[in-house]
């Protein structure tokens, strides 16, 4: 469908356009991170921006996440609107002290005198055979921290639209981009549409079971929903979009409609975002449940390098479909 005013856009380019638009609109915006400049970014997101904006505003940093995230916080305190890219979520652990102890707390500790209008973009997730030190999904950890906003754009439209409101937000905002989404192409409006960074979205309406997902797990969840629909099972697919603060209302309303829930989360299930969602459903929608809440998560191992092992360790559409089917059709839940 290429309706008037629509165009095909790749997720990677959508992020690039969003950065470019933000930099053109506001001189205070700059991008900084490892290899984002001359090289064009590890995932080629910032390719060409260095040529357009120059080294002052597209800044290559040393391999020192703690230092350059700290520099970003300082710049935000000083009135700039920095976009900091951390190459993968595994490397973000080096910057945890700056993110958790400084970015998330300074507004609170200064009695609101300081805002931290900082955006940190972080590629996350596996599926590209980058092995255990580059493939994990740790966004759930950040969703634990008060003072941070955590976004997970799963669509091209959100990849393009979430950056502007994130930069406008006085709080530090983390944007997690799943590495498998960069090559996804979708139809979007020619001009960027405003999107919010507060609500979850219903990507597919249904009455039989709610499939709650976000980021890189959304495509497999939609695939499972299509397969279920072929057999007359109408799954509602919720894209969380915002991992902190959670759009609890959207979740609970969906549960009230369908009475059955499968949460799809590429993170490990122990102490995870999926556990949090499950707990909230238990707390607030227990009497709406017509089946126990189920989760499809990554196997609890460091993500394997070998391709078939990596695929086996990650949530798959077939597994989402099997679990949803068990809930709706009344089959044993374990296998």
């Amino acid at each position: 469908m290429s309706a008037a005013g629509m165009r095909q856009l790749q997720y990677r380019l959508a992020v690039r356009e969003a950065i470019r638009d933000a930099m053109r609109a506001d001189e205070r915006v700059f991008l900084m991170g490892e290899d984002v400049g001359a090289y064009g970014g590890c995932f080629a997101v910032s390719l060409g921006l260095f040529e357009e904006f120059g080294p002052e505003r597209i800044r290559d940093t040393p391999l020192s996440e703690l230092a350059f995230v700290g520099a970003g916080i300082g710049a935000a305190l000083g009135g700039m609107r920095p976009i900091v890219e951390i190459m993968t979520v595994n490397f973000s652990l080096l910057a945890l002290d700056q993110i958790v102890n400084n970015a998330a707390t300074l507004s609170h500790m200064s009695g609101g005198q300081f805002a931290i209008p900082l955006v940190i973009r972080i590629p996350t997730g596996g599926g590209r055979q980058l092995a255990a030190q580059h493939s994990h999904s740790l966004e759930g950890w950040f969703a634990h921290i008060p003072g941070l906003k955590v976004l997970a754009p799963a669509t091209v439209e959100d990849a393009r639209g979430m950056l502007a409101p994130a930069l406008a937000d006085p709080n530090p905002v983390l944007i997690f981009e799943h590495v498998l989404l960069y090559n996804v192409e979708e139809q979007v409006t020619a001009e960027p549409a405003a999107v919010d960074i507060t609500s979850a979205a219903i990507r597919r309406a249904g009455r039989d079971v709610s499939l709650i997902s976000y980021g890189g797990s959304l495509p497999i969840t939609l695939e499972a929903a299509e397969a279920l629909a072929a057999d007359g099972i109408e799954a509602e697919v919720i894209d969380l979009r915002v991992l902190r603060p959670l759009d609890e209302r959207a979740i609970l309303e969906s549960v009230a409609r369908t009475h059955r829930v499968v949460i799809v989360d590429e993170g490990w299930r122990s102490g995870s975002l999926s556990a949090e969602i499950s707990a909230r459903i238990m707390e607030h929608a227990f009497f709406d449940l017509d089946a126990p809440v189920q989760r499809v998560c990554s196997a609890e191992v460091p993500v394997p390098y070998a391709q078939q092992l990596e695929q086996a360790a990650r949530p798959r559409a077939a597994e989402v479909e099997r679990v949803a089917r068990a809930l709706v059709e009344g089959r044993p839940l374990d296998g």
Binding site: R207, H259, F287, L289, D290, A291
Partner: protein, 438 residues
């Protein structure tokens, strides 16, 4: 041991009058048996028991009015009485008397003691097979809530959910009870025409019941209708839509298919409307459910209430349960049975408590164009069906005589709006004109 309580047979019922006991102490009852007739403000209703066992005592006399939840009878559950404390007591004397010759000192007492009337069913019962099934029932939270609403005892419900859990759907199936087998002798053969004409026997029987009451049923029913409709008109901001539907080809189809059915199985247009409305609720779910405590809760299934005029005046709208899952013929059967029992005053508790949307059809009365209905709270929509009449109908530049009906929708504006209502009517229209899928 379980107390049989005055059930709640509708959202607005807070008390009921026990009109008649259908059992006596000592009687064996099976789950689903009708054990009493209870009169609410709306109707006299045959109430089913959800526990199998023995009636131990009737706690409330006929003619007494008591609040919902009051224990009416005590029923010893079949399985429990075997494992319960009474069982060993009853078994004991049998053993001692068998041992009596060996123990002379006790013999005289045992000999003079009158033979204990151990209930015959208690002796063969203590089969150990029943005892170990003390496993906790697997019931989903939603199913528990639903069971409470419908007054369904979960012990006998078969679970079809994940890992064998009892789900909402299982409870609702159980709430439907057994098909009316042993209801009232007067119903031996409900005539096919029951929908058009109340049978004379039914009217006569109702009259007889009325005679025993302090207030004629028609008057109490009128009072109940007055209360519900005043509430509706006061609290529900209604909107109204109507649409003319060309039924010519659908009725021709119906007449054709009816020729292959026996006279008693013929499907009347009413069943088409019930099916179409039930299926249309899947497309526009905000027409189907209950608005309670400031919140709308969509119902999963469509229990379509069908307004029935009862002899002596007044209306009752009992539900055709799960009309969205029944076939057209099943709906017709259910409708026929429901109408005749509504008129005879022998409705079941599960039918009165559960409609999620109502149809008010004045079709067979003749000459009514459009029904402007009032929503029956806590429901949120009412579909009115006018008379089917032959009218000029323009289509494709031609005017022809077609059989058409005017459907109307009375909707609750707190829950939906005219746009959704229009989609709902359009869905009904589309479904009605494709009768093979109904």
């Amino acid at each position: 041991m379980a107390d049989f309580l005055m059930p709640s047979l509708g959202a607005d019922m807070d008390a009921g009058r026990l009109v008649e006991w259908r059992v006596r102490p000592g009687d064996q009852v099976e789950r689903g048996d009708i054990i009493a007739t209870i009169e609410t403000d709306k109707a006299a209703i045959d109430v089913e028991v959800w526990e199998s066992g023995t009636v131990e005592a009737l706690l409330v006399e006929e003619g007494t009015r008591v609040p919902v939840g009051t224990p009416l009878a005590r029923i010893a559950a079949a399985a429990l009485s075997a494992a319960g404390p009474e069982a060993p007591d009853q078994a004991q004397p049998v053993e001692t008397s068998a041992a009596a010759p060996v123990e002379p000192p006790t013999t005289p007492r045992e000999a003079t003691a009158p033979p204990r009337p151990a209930p015959p069913e208690a002796v063969p019962q203590p089969a150990a097979a029943e005892a170990p099934s003390r496993e906790r029932l697997r019931v989903t939270p939603l199913a528990r809530v639903r069971a409470e609403e419908l007054g369904v005892n979960l012990a006998g419900v078969r679970g079809t959910g994940p890992d064998g859990a009892i789900t909402q759907a299982d409870v609702e199936r159980a709430g439907e009870g057994e098909p009316a087998a042993a209801i009232s002798p007067s119903e031996a053969g409900p005539p096919a025409a029951a929908i058009e004409e109340p049978s004379e026997t039914a009217a006569a029987e109702t009259g007889a019941t009325v005679g025993e009451q302090t207030e004629p049923r028609a008057a109490t029913l009128r009072r109940a209708i007055a209360a519900a409709m005043s509430l509706s008109n006061r609290d529900i901001p209604h909107y109204y839509l109507s649409m003319a539907v060309d039924l010519s080809s659908t009725l021709a189809w119906l007449e054709r298919t009816n020729q292959q059915r026996g006279v008693a199985e013929r499907v009347l247009p009413s069943a088409l409307f019930v099916r179409a409305v039930a299926l249309a609720t899947h497309e526009v779910p905000e027409m189907n459910g209950h608005y309670l405590d400031g919140q709308f809760r969509a119902a999963e299934r469509a229990h379509v209430g069908f307004a029935v005029a009862v002899p002596g005046g007044g209306l009752i709208a009992p539900a055709i349960l799960e009309a969205d899952r029944k076939s057209l013929v099943e709906v017709m059967t259910a409708l026929r049975e429901l109408v005749s029992r509504a008129r005879a005053g022998t409705l079941r508790s599960s039918e009165l408590a559960s409609p999620t949307i109502t149809i008010s059809s004045l079709g067979e009365r003749g000459g009514i164009d459009t029904v402007y209905g009032i929503v029956n709270p806590p429901q949120v929509a009412l579909v009115g069906v006018g008379s089917i009449v032959e009218r000029p109908w323009a289509e494709g530049g031609m005017v022809g005589a077609r059989r058409q009906v005017t459907l109307s929708l009375s909707g609750d504006h707190r829950v939906s709006d005219g746009h959704r209502g229009a989609l709902f009517l359009a869905a009904i229209d589309r479904l009605l004109r494709d009768p093979e899928r109904l």
